[in-house]
């Protein structure tokens, strides 16, 4: 399951808030997290973000699905921090990371990708004078998000084909067909973008 692209429809205050405001709040919130010194402050921040999920009506399983992929990384960081800097620092670092991820998840779960892309395009507009095409950058971002499940699907199919042929794990047997199929898919998507009038 992808971390992004999981917009959950709703009509809460957070859903109705503009994408720009949410992204600004996310940025401020993450900077504030870095400045926290005490565990109780971290607890307060966690409570505020938790309240955000409740207000947005996001089910617990969806929150878990967003954070689950990073559990091993967080555990590794926690162990290193405990060994090198003590448990208080470990709680502050890992707690800060976890809350930051939760804030990002809250934004993506309550904001349509197109709305986020609109903000990116608006922010990039001043760079148009330097030759940057904001529409094109927006399209690249959208395609990147779209390609995550597509590539996951290709990797899954290639792995299944390898197993069906009775082959053991081999990086070459995985990477070569995945790259070939990904390039073919990219080619076909290019045609489809032209057909859909992207260059119009």
């Amino acid at each position: 399951m992808s971390i992004i692209g999981l917009y959950t429809p709703g009509n809460s205050v957070l859903h109705r808030m503009s994408a720009g405001s949410k992204l600004a709040c996310m940025l401020v919130g993450m900077i504030a997290l870095v400045a926290l010194q005490q565990i109780w402050q971290l607890g307060l921040a966690a409570a505020v973000v938790g309240a955000g999920f409740v207000v947005a009506g996001i089910p617990g399983r969806l929150i878990w699905r967003q954070l689950r992929p990073l559990r091993w990384l967080l555990l590794l960081i926690a162990v290193l921090q405990v060994v090198l800097a003590g448990w208080v620092t470990a709680v502050m670092v890992c707690g800060g990371l976890l809350i930051s991820l939760a804030i990002a998840a809250l934004v993506t779960l309550t904001t349509r990708v197109t709305d986020i892309l609109d903000v990116c395009q608006r922010l990039l507009r001043p760079l148009a004078r330097l030759g940057v095409d904001p529409d094109r950058v927006g399209l690249v971002l959208a395609m990147t998000i779209r390609c995550i499940p597509l590539l996951t699907g290709i990797v899954d199919q290639v792995s299944q084909a390898r197993k069906a042929r009775g082959l053991g794990f081999s990086l070459v047997a995985l990477v070569v067909p995945v790259v070939v199929r990904a390039l073919r898919t990219a080619d076909a998507m290019g045609d489809a973008l032209i057909a859909r009038g992207v260059d119009d």
């Binding site: 349509r112 990708v113 395609m143 045609d191 032209i194 859909r196 009038g197």
Partner: protein
């Protein structure tokens, strides 16, 4: 109906001649193209909206050259691919349909209204905010069709749109295509989809070998396949 015209068209990939001596004028409402794998039928279809340029000769749609006036042609000709996954750009259904209108100059309200109508028309009303990669094959193809048709093209070129679908989904998509008001050029292996078509072309080894009614061409094609 639009007039699609091929004049002395040849297309090569390197030394290999994919299409040769194609001279055609297509004005019918329903046009089918059949042929074996590698016969050149998809190349022929792709030329109609300028995705493939002829090595020599010209292809025009209502007088517009598909090479020199490709953008105008593509506004008039929509293309539906075999694999809808390649055609879907945005992460959710409604966003993908709206993507087709992003440079239309329409207001957000108008785009929203058109997308809503399109979702209802294609039976996707309950899936507006659904992630596109979680749709069934049939739903993905319906979404691809919806995203093409919302631009209101005069001609729809569909390149084997039912090939990757199971029978139920294939029937659903073909029924929808048969109900379209637009001129349709359908490339297919499923000869039953051509029932009621006005004209069917049979392509073999890059050449137009037969041109007639669905019944005539089906007989000829089946005889050719042995």
């Amino acid at each position: 109906m639009s007039t699609i015209e091929f004049t002395a068209v040849q297309h090569r990939y390197g030394d290999r001649v994919v299409l040769d001596q194609i001279d055609l004028q297509l004005t019918e409402r329903r046009i089918g193209i059949v042929g074996a794998n590698g016969s050149g039928k998809s190349t022929l279809a792709r030329m109609i909206n300028g995705l493939v340029e002829p090595t020599s000769g010209t292809v025009t749609v209502d007088g517009l050259d598909t090479v020199r006036q490709g953008r105008q042609v593509r506004q008039q000709v929509g293309f539906v691919f075999t694999d809808p996954d390649n055609q879907i750009v945005m992460p959710t259904v409604a966003e993908d349909i709206a993507f087709s209108l992003r440079k239309s100059g329409l207001s957000k309200t108008e785009i929203h209204s058109r997308v809503e109508d399109s979702l209802v028309r294609f039976g996707l009303a309950g899936h507006a905010d659904h992630p596109t990669h979680l749709l069934s094959g049939g739903q993905k193809q319906l979404l691809a069709l919806a995203a093409v048709l919302i631009r209101r093209p005069a001609v729809i070129v569909a390149d084997e749109p039912t090939t990757l679908l199971d029978r139920r989904n294939a029937r659903m998509v073909s029924e929808l295509i048969s109900l379209l008001d637009e001129q349709v050029v359908l490339v297919t292996h499923h000869l039953n989809l051509l029932t009621g078509f006005d004209r069917v072309l049979l392509i073999d080894e890059g050449r137009l070998v037969a041109d007639g009614s669905p019944a005539e061409i089906t007989m000829r094609y089946e005889a050719m396949l042995g």
